[in-house]
């Protein structure tokens, strides 16, 4: 067995080790923490490249590209609990992506967090997070995956709430933790179910793993009481975990709020890796997802995959709609991420692993580029996040602007040149040929239009026109009337970020440009790499299977979206901070609804949180008016009777009733003896029970 396969564990272990060491380090040892984190990540990156090369080598030599290494962890009873890691194309691609993007973000963070006093802690968490994410990627056991998955959840909580003294950040951290936990409970149930059915949690184990044909066939054959086969049930439960982690439709609420964390965290967690973990999970258990009764052919789609598709397409449309009406630069990107994750899920559902994963990889690059660019903008504007207060930054921050534009065009899917185009087009094409329904295709196409629109809106707001930040500072200096403060704020005139931040941006933008050419229809190298087939260079692929019409129409859609964006925002520059949004003027009510994320937080608040309050209010009202009125009426009547009754009572009923009352009170007293807060009395009762039960047991044995 090759060295890299045996020692693949080093890839996640190194960052975790770095995190452990920097957790013990002093708060002042900033250089140590940063160099540990970056160094370990760099080594992990090199190891990942090695692993990638090894997979390529295996492919070229026609060997099985699935390499596993299992070991026994510990024994309980007669069973051994095994863990292990797996190296296949999927792992290799994810490893390289996570370590590379992670490394760039780590370097970027050195500049971004330079002024933070908890620098050391930040790098500790960041390294732990990256290690856990890599653990998710290499895990060959659902249990190991789940463990790392939970560490990822924990670190995301820690990182989102990194500025915990800000109550919003603390609340966002909690929200992210709790919402993803809601998804994790079904995931855990699915895991338990899977273990109960197949007796193993290893994915691949030389024929005995739970993702291998024998186990899958067994699972498909099992039927549950509600009529679906066990495989589908387990797959749906596991998918719930992915829904939580990837911010899919019902559980997306945490992702926008998570933007309270430092921007590198947003880039790392909420663009490149953590949210991708959900998509990755679905890709990892794809054999389980796609398993269904009957013949396992590619054309029919399992129930689980249908669910994935529908959830994904709804999320894609939904996220894009909301992103249109946001003002916070990071929130726009966050909703865009939600939307793009929906795309990935949709791609997984309609087209298989390679389609969804291709978008995941390209998206990781350009979305982290966008986030880092946004971070650079925020850094340059001294923490300002509202796009209405920006503007004109294109001249002041040329590098950021150029790279941001690349990222934006890649996200929009600008035809032919940018990576987003190819990956998104792949998904749309797969959706077009889906045999269940055409609705996901149209939803995806509309989301693409919206994507182009809101991204151009954001870019025009931020980089176009003239700077509106000055207005703000003028106001501030006026209100505070203190030259010192003005000077302090005056230093916040927009400026280009330092090289440690811009260089990662440039590297990422190169990848955002070029990565798409790995997976064009003419040369689908990436897809064939994941699916273990050969990829010929074939330009005729464009014209087959309706590929060309889809490409053309999506190009038109993107250009249309960009044009609309220009029409509304670029044609004449935005004048002032308080000017209403140009689209918002068309239909303010809808726009504000979108601006408030379709009131989803409010809905959750109103339904789950307020339910109690409402119920109690209703009860209060009932109590106050209905019952009380009735009671009052009855009381008056009763009063009348009472006078009559009193006479009878004192002489006839009283004696008997008193006796009853006394009986009740006496029995209460006797019972209260039992619960007197005296431990020894409880112990006596336990001893008495022991006596009684032993006697009963012996008696039964005798007879």
């Amino acid at each position: 067995m090759n060295w890299i396969v045996q020692n693949l564990w080093l890839v996640p272990a190194l960052p975790i080790l770095a995190a452990g060491i920097s957790a013990l380090a002093k708060r002042k040892s900033r250089v140590l923490a940063a160099s540990l984190a970056i160094g370990s990540m760099a080594i992990s990156f090199l190891l990942s490249l090695w692993a990638f090369a090894h997979v390529l080598w295996l492919r070229n030599h026609g060997e099985a590209s699935l390499q596993i290494f299992d070991f026994r962890w510990f024994q309980f009873g007669n069973q051994w609990l095994s863990l292990g890691w797996v190296l296949n194309p999927l792992t290799a691609v994810m490893l390289v992506m996570v370590t590379f993007v992670g490394l760039l973000i780590f370097i970027y963070s050195v500049g971004y967090m330079a002024h933070d006093e908890n620098f050391t802690r930040f790098f500790c968490f960041l390294a732990l997070f990256a290690g856990a994410m890599l653990g998710v990627v290499i895990a060959n056991s659902l249990l190991l995956l789940f463990m790392c998955w939970e560490i990822v959840g924990l670190t995301s909580y820690l990182l989102i709430g990194f500025w915990y003294s800000n109550p919003k950040a603390a609340a966002a951290g909690k929200k992210a933790f709790i919402v993803t936990r809601i998804g994790d409970i079904p995931f855990f149930l699915g895991m338990v179910w899977l273990y109960g059915q197949s007796g193993t949690l290893l994915f691949y184990n030389g024929g005995a793993g739970c993702l291998e044909p024998s186990a899958i066939n067994y699972l498909v054959a099992q039927t549950t009481t509600i009529g679906i086969c066990a495989a589908t049930g387990i797959a749906l439960l596991i998918f719930c975990g992915a829904v939580g982690k990837s911010g899919q439709f019902p559980l997306h609420v945490w992702l926008p709020d998570a933007m309270e964390g430092p921007t590198p965290v947003s880039a790392l967690i909420h663009a490149a890796t953590m949210v991708a973990a959900g998509v990755f999970l679905v890709a990892r258990v794809y054999p389980l997802m796609s398993a269904h009764a009957g013949i396992a052919s590619v054309l029919t789609t399992s129930t689980a995959l249908q669910a994935v598709t529908w959830v994904g397409s709804i999320t894609a449309l939904f996220g894009a709609l909301i992103a249109v009406a946001q003002y916070d630069i990071k929130r726009i990107l966050a909703y865009s991420t939600v939307s793009q994750l929906g795309y990935m899920m949709m791609g997984l559902g309609v087209g298989g692993v390679s389609v969804g994963m291709f978008h995941l990889i390209t998206h990781a690059f350009f979305k982290s580029l966008l986030f880092l660019g946004a971070g650079s903008v925020i850094h340059g504007c001294s923490g300002e996040q509202d796009i209405r207060r920006m503007g004109g930054l294109g001249r002041l921050m040329p590098v950021t602007f150029a790279t941001y534009a690349v990222g934006m065009l890649a996200l929009c899917g600008f035809p032919l040149l940018f990576s987003g185009f190819w990956s998104k087009d792949e998904i749309l094409h797969a959706a077009h040929t889906w045999n269940i329904s055409q609705a996901p295709f149209y939803m995806g196409a509309f989301a693409a239009l919206l994507t182009a629109f809101y991204m151009s809106r954001q870019v025009f707001y931020v980089f176009g026109g003239k700077s509106r930040l000055a207005e703000e500072t003028a106001d501030l200096s006026h209100s505070l009337a203190s030259p010192d403060t003005t000077n302090h704020h005056g230093s916040s005139a927009p400026h280009e970020s330092p090289a440690v931040m811009t260089i990662p941006l440039m590297i990422l933008s190169v990848f955002a440009l070029l990565l798409g050419f790995l997976g064009t229809p003419a040369w689908p190298w990436f897809q064939s790499f994941l699916e273990d087939t050969q990829a010929p260079l074939d330009f005729s692929a464009f014209s087959t299977g309706g590929m060309l019409p889809v490409m053309l129409s999506s190009s038109v859609i993107v250009l249309l979206g960009l044009t609309i964006g220009w029409w509304f925002y670029g044609r004449k520059p935005i004048e002032s901070v308080d000017a209403p949004d140009n689209v918002g003027r068309l239909s303010p009510s809808i726009f504000s609804a979108l601006g408030n994320a379709l009131y989803f937080d409010a809905i959750y608040g109103a339904t789950f949180v307020k339910l109690n309050t409402q119920l109690s209010k209703i009860s209060d009202w009932l109590d106050r008016w209905v019952w009380n009125g009735a009671v009052q009426t009855v009381t008056q009547i009763v009063f009348g009777f009472a006078y009559l009754d009193n006479f009878l009572d004192t002489h006839v009923v009283n004696s008997g009733f008193d006796g009853g009352c006394q009986g009740v009170s006496r029995s209460g007293q006797i019972l209260s003896l039992l619960q007197a807060g005296r431990i020894q009395r409880y112990l006596k009762i336990v001893a008495g029970a022991l006596i009684v039960f032993t006697i009963l047991l012996l008696w039964k044995a005798k007879i």
Binding site: G677, R678, I679, Q680, L683, K684, A687
Partner: protein, 103 residues
Amino acid sequence: MSPMSGYLLLSALLFSIGLAGALTRRNAILVLIGIELMLNAANLNFIAFWRYGPNPEALTGVMFAIFSISVAAAEAAVGLSIILAVYRHSKTTNLDKMNSMKG
């Protein structure tokens, strides 16, 4: 009487002595000691069953006894520190006087 029943009887007697102590004494420390005694009686049972039982090579009884001793040690440590904490508030170790939940 077989040797095993001798040990079992002894264990039962120890258990009863511990129980009697836990039931009759007023001092929290002594009650805790009584409970420890009951645990020890159970340990004697485990060892006796291991010695005379059908499957001694599995070492289950010995293992049980070892784990139970560890648990008893942890229990004693935590129990006694609880008593200390309570004493700091109420200035008594008499169980009858510890009848208030207030700190």
